[in-house]
Symmetry: C2
Subunit: 218 residues, 2 copies
């Protein structure tokens, strides 16, 4: 599994190469933890960056949306796209302003997305979106109808030109600053979930299922 994705001119890091990571396993783990990706594309010579939910199916990233949306219409024409996923892990608090930083894990994917038109493949993508948000949710809910599948555009982007960028650990201060009377270190940051809030119209007698009650992202 721990295959290396070949770096390209676009994905290789020129300035701080030690932060770059091209292992499939590392890239997949970051994608699987994130809720949202940021999709970059060009329409009428203007760059757009649109946040959207997504899922990973094996070595592809899938997104979905209404066929009427500008993003889905533009991407359906198989134009160049850049999809970026970012997780913030910590605030890196140095002794100098200059060396303040963040711990993070990000993934950038380049390519051209393809429309998924085959009904069974679309069904599997909708399943992946739901399971990406809440594992084991699919078995509990009403699956999509043929009409719902028709009204949804699904796009698939191969994870062939992709890379991760990761910063971890302590601040790195200038040697002479270590002696300053300044607290320095890392304030860890993570996403967490609160108590589930039942829908106002929830049918009586239905309790919160364990995969939602004991939800954990990692």
């Amino acid at each position: 599994m721990n295959e290396i994705i070949h770096p390209t001119e676009k994905t290789k890091l020129k300035r701080i190469p030690k932060r770059g990571n091209f292992e499939r396993e590392t890239i997949y783990k970051i994608l699987d933890e994130a809720f949202v990706c940021h999709v970059g594309f060009v329409a009428n010579n203007q760059p757009f960056v649109i946040p959207t939910s997504f899922a990973r199916i094996d070595d592809r990233l899938v997104i979905h949306g209404s066929a009427a949306s500008r993003m889905m219409r533009s991407l359906s024409e198989e134009i160049d796209v850049c999809v970026t996923v970012t997780l913030v892990d910590g605030l890196v608090l140095a002794r100098s302003a200059f060396h303040h930083s963040m711990n993070y894990r990000s993934v950038v994917v380049f390519g051209k997305a393809k429309v998924v038109s085959e009904e069974q493949e679309k069904y599997e993508a909708l399943k992946a979106f739901t399971e990406h948000i809440v594992p084991d949710r699919w078995a509990e809910i009403r699956p999509p109808t043929k009409n719902e599948l028709k009204g949804t555009t699904v796009l698939s982007l191969a994870l062939t030109e992709a890379s991760a960028k990761i910063r971890t650990g302590n601040p790195v201060d200038d040697e002479e600053d270590y002696n300053l009377d300044v607290w320095a270190g890392v304030l860890p940051v993570h996403l967490t979930t609160g108590a589930p809030v039942a829908d106002d119209r929830l049918k009586s007698g239905i309790s919160v299922p364990p995969n939602i009650l004991n939800y954990s992202r990692k």
Copy 2:
């Protein structure tokens, strides 16, 4: 303060207009809560989406980086940029796969960034970056030297073409699905901080300051 930013062809929402928000106060609040923005630009006909830290100074968004980075070099030429900030607030768990969604608040800004070259203005931007991460941190740390200011490129983007998009509340299911025996509702999601981790080389006798010990994002 609660001024409305004029919607444009790029920022107005065509499909679900009720999710759009053009109030300066709402847009600023989202920007001030987020740690990371995603910067979209085009270089060699290829869209790039790069995550980076940022700050807001009044009606401008500022980012910074090494003058050697592709992003800073490209944006310094005052090309079109799209900067997007997204906060995930909840997983919206409907009775059908089709109506699963997320609660979120996002901001999209369009424009051309300008290089901040005046030394005092750069100094104020570096202060804003630090204060954006940890309020009141600036007074505790070593401020930037003239050389550090020289080595940093700061870009400023006016918040003149900007909009927010917000989803809140319960899932919206098809009427006939409300009778299904499926738990439905919202699982709230938020960023939280853990206990501060002191740097390995922290000088002895320095305790964690209250703004870090009692850190809260909102």
